[in-house]
Symmetry: C2
Subunit: 251 residues, 2 copies
């Protein structure tokens, strides 16, 4: 008698999914080994691996030799893109990300690299740069408790920030926005674009992403009083670790 309305491996995947969502296997729990699943469902190991691969791609579990297949746990960091714009309370020495992280009792840190480049078409167009105009980029890889957390690459028109503190590597504790302000190009309006996709290999390596983790791409373009773009910030946020929140008042 044939009951199967879908592939065998799909059925095994469904069963595992159900077991995980129902709590039979909580976060951190180890699923049965491939050999055990093979026997239990009476299928080949290939089929079991196909089933588990589905869960991996869904970001539900992780696999490693000898450790087995483990149910992932997640805890997202709350981001408030709006707060980065507010003038920091006087004396607040920390930049927005560092502040948000330390609020949750975790320890922020970051690697910074500053380079002048010929920008990609996308960046050049957002910065409204002409052909051959250079951009200065501050590339940051940010960590929480020593683990890579997200990346933030901020692009500026090179001619604008060449001699400022922005062009020097190292933390700018008062925030880059403050420096822009001092240069006479305070951001008075920003446009945030948000979308998601699967990460590329570079991102997987840099952020030590597990399979099945999408990334949220968050691009902020800042404009000064003359409506000239002065900063493009591209953040790549592993989806399982970030939650973006906006609060809007209706005027």
């Amino acid at each position: 008698m044939k009951v199967a309305r879908s592939a065998l491996y799909q059925q095994v995947a469904s069963e595992l999914r159900r077991a995980i969502y129902s709590g039979d296997y909580g976060p951190g729990a180890q699923l049965p080994t491939e050999e055990e699943l093979r026997q239990r469902h009476g299928v080949s190991r290939n089929t079991v691996r196909l089933a588990v691969a589905e869960l991996v791609n869904e970001g539900l579990v992780t696999r490693a030799p000898r450790r087995g297949t483990i149910v992932r746990e997640r805890r997202a960091l709350l981001m408030h893109p709006q707060r980065e714009l507010e003038t920091q309370p006087t004396g607040e020495p920390r930049e927005a990300f560092a502040f948000a992280v330390s609020q949750e009792g975790r320890e922020p840190s970051q690697d910074i690299e500053v380079v002048t480049i010929l920008p990609t078409e996308d960046i050049a167009s957002r910065l409204e740069l002409g052909d051959g105009d250079l951009a200065l980029v501050r590339r940051r890889l940010r960590y929480v408790d020593g683990q890579p957390y997200n990346t933030n690459d901020s692009y500026y028109p090179a001619h604008l920030v060449r001699d400022s503190e922005i062009a020097r590597p190292g933390d700018i504790t008062r925030g880059a926005n403050r420096v822009l302000e001092e240069l006479g190009h305070a951001q008075v309006r920003v446009v945030d674009d948000i979308w998601a996709r699967m990460p590329n290999q570079t991102e997987v390596d840099r952020l030590q992403l597990e399979l099945g983790t999408p990334v949220v791409v968050y691009v902020r373009v800042g404009y000064d009083r003359d409506d000239t773009p002065v900063r493009v910030a591209v953040s790549v946020l592993p989806a399982d670790k970030h939650l973006i929140r906006y609060e809007l008042d209706i005027r």
Copy 2:
């Protein structure tokens, strides 16, 4: 001589990725068949399939029998969550989503289902409902040019909207917000939460998602003048088809 610093299937995947990004295979193009790749790289068909599976999971390509492996193309719909709040221009007969879609010269439509339910813990907590309090939900599956595009489930405290237009299935052309206003519970503040994840099976079916497409989850909680939550809207947006944009002025 052994050059391999990574698995064979990874190498094949890299090569294909490079070819796609470099434009050798543009959107819509068909990759070589599995048999051809097998010969070209001198590996087994299983290995080829593993390689291509990577690209599928990255959302880069789609496979179908006889059609082959096709490079996907994408075109995102721009969403402006802010505009949904602004009072529509007088005489604007369309609801926000329909308006945004038709702006791009595409044809919107939707299926609506209205049900009263015992809300999940998440929804109940966001609506600040007590134990046993019911919620009314308007579940919408929205289409563009006949293709499923996204879902939007709006939850309301049942006691609040029971006898209003919101409780009846069918379009509310002036928008549900207007109805809330007439009920004396206009939204004056909203909180938007945005994150991403891989879709579950229900979503894959409902939205006809291809493998390797993450979804952006977008939750808006609306509060009235008394700071009472009056609406929770949960949108599930296939990541390849949506771009969310916010514009912020710095006061």
